[in-house]
Symmetry: C2
Subunit: 198 residues, 2 copies
């Protein structure tokens, strides 16, 4: 399984945002929604071999993490507004209050209290890669395309503590090219590289 | 200059769509809007070396073409709703009615009556590439990264006549990988390849 983890440093962990002004009211949850599309959808449907985690670090309910599993997720649309509507419903759930770890709240979509540490717990043993600028070119990196965990920052990048935590776990820093790109473009390029390796 | 041309076979050439249901009311203009983001924006702003043409073939005002020039465009946002709002205003203009060729209607954004032929006229002499499945891998293609015109279909792909027209002009068919991807992902991957060549 291919796994993507997007860290939303300001992304709202509750459903209290406006669909009409997503960037302005959700702590840039729009960035993360575009990553869901890029990670999970191709022209002919959904990627059953991909899971994406959205780590939401903004607002009074943070941290919370949403997991979308391509193997079973339904109603994943390419456009932002319905994706935002779906996430709003998911985040309005209280199911994670009384449950440790991920709890399904929609088909293929689970919610958990906690942030990156809960993802690291669930993906223990799988090789980790941190996407960042000026690191080794992904095209020259050998990896198991069936068992990689790719960790990406949002528009704010990683904070120092998180980066240090990932490196201490053996995460390898890799880069997709010479320019700093939007997170969803990075996801698309990583997926393309994995597609080519299969 | 890098140029992208996206053919929207059903994309509405007028502003008569709803921002609250873009896919359902605009002939999938949302696909083209996402291509604008992928073509023009990176983490630190706009790509001044890129132009994107949206060829709108749907509705009673079709065909019309919108040209967004990264060198001078303003207010190009990454999220769909403000991009759709901007395009709605552009398409509500009548400036192209009394003018042959492209006419500026917003900073860096021009509108023209006519479809692909007007783009081919404007890009005459520049090498053309058609993005499609099962063609030569882009990584093995030699091209001038400063003067390429990359033509992409929307979610419906190319019609036969258009494809034949492009091939007769010497357009080379290229592919970004083994899977059929969303058009905006293809744009992101082409931009990444061009970035790497510079």
């Amino acid at each position: 399984v291919r796994r993507f983890v997007v860290l939303g440093r300001s992304a709202l962990a509750s459903g209290e945002f406006s669909l009409d002004d997503l960037p302005g009211t959700s702590g840039r949850l729009d960035v993360l929604l575009r990553c869901v599309r890029a990670a999970l959808l191709h022209s002919h449907g959904i990627r059953h071999d991909t899971v994406i985690y959205l780590v939401l670090e903004g607002g009074h309910r943070a941290p919370r993490t949403v997991r979308v599993d391509g193997a079973s997720a339904k109603f994943v649309r390419p456009d932002e507004r319905p994706l935002a509507t779906l996430l709003k419903k998911v985040l309005s759930s209280d199911a994670d209050e009384s449950h440790a770890g991920f709890v399904d709240v929609r088909p293929g979509i689970a919610l958990a209290k906690g942030g990156l540490e809960i993802v690291l717990e669930e993906t223990r043993g799988s090789p980790k890669y941190v996407l960042e600028e000026n690191a080794q070119d992904i095209r020259g990196v050998e990896f198991d395309s069936h068992d990689g965990v790719f960790v990406l920052g949002d528009h704010l990048g990683f904070d120092e503590r998180t980066r240090a935590q990932l490196v201490s776990l053996g995460a390898k820093a890799i880069s997709v090219g010479p320019l700093s790109l939007h997170t969803d473009d990075v996801v698309a390029i990583v997926q393309n590289e994995l597609d080519r390796r299969e």
